[in-house]
Subunit: 87 residues, 2 copies
DNA sequence: TTTATATTTCGACAAATATCGAAATAATTA
DNA sequence: TAATTATTTCGATATTTGTCGAAATATAAA
């Protein structure tokens, strides 16, 4: 839970998730969407992977990233419980 | 959105939300649940309030905190969109 | 095998963050 | 009014985080 909220606590990482929602992308393709260096992006991807918010697979010299939704569902569950009105 | 994820990115602050889900509490009552100083807790409450995740009202010399769910609902919405399978 | 491309790791640094004790503010009680 | 209680603000500090350039690793192409 900690790692997930940490991973979500950054606009670039949240934008990465939104990009990956549309389609899988290589690290380079993701980097093209932002004005930050490759090492920085690689670090962001690492944090997202640590939180199990994305998965990656190697394809030749490329690394392809995909969105993982399992953990998101857990957080959704937690937030839903909180947001329910008490009675 | 930034301030909300920032506020949620701390176990103590998330625990505070869970406590407030059960009932409204004064700053002191919240502090009693944790092994941290009053100034630190006051700071946590401030971040939660900045994110509109809690509201506060004064009652004599006490300050009573309550959970606010409006912003949680917005985040829920965002996460739900992400978690939905693409087709 | 050399060169080029894609990505990550390393080392460093500036900015942000959590924490604390002391002091300040506000309201209550003696 | 003086003393007490509840909470926040202030100033300082240690830790974490985002960022970068350079170097390392891995694969593909010439």
């Amino acid at each position: 839970m900690n790692t997930v909220f940490k991973a979500l606590n950054d606009p670039i990482r949240r934008e990465i998730l939104t990009l990956l929602k549309k389609s899988d992308l290589t690290a380079g393709e993701i980097a093209d969407h932002f004005q930050i260096g490759k090492p920085t992006l690689s670090h962001h991807l690492d944090l997202l992977r640590q939180a199990d918010l994305v998965s990656s697979r190697k394809d030749g010299q490329f690394v392809i990233y995909s969105l993982s939704t399992t953990v998101l569902d857990e957080i959704l569950q937690w937030m839903y419980q909180l947001s329910q009105q008490k009675q």
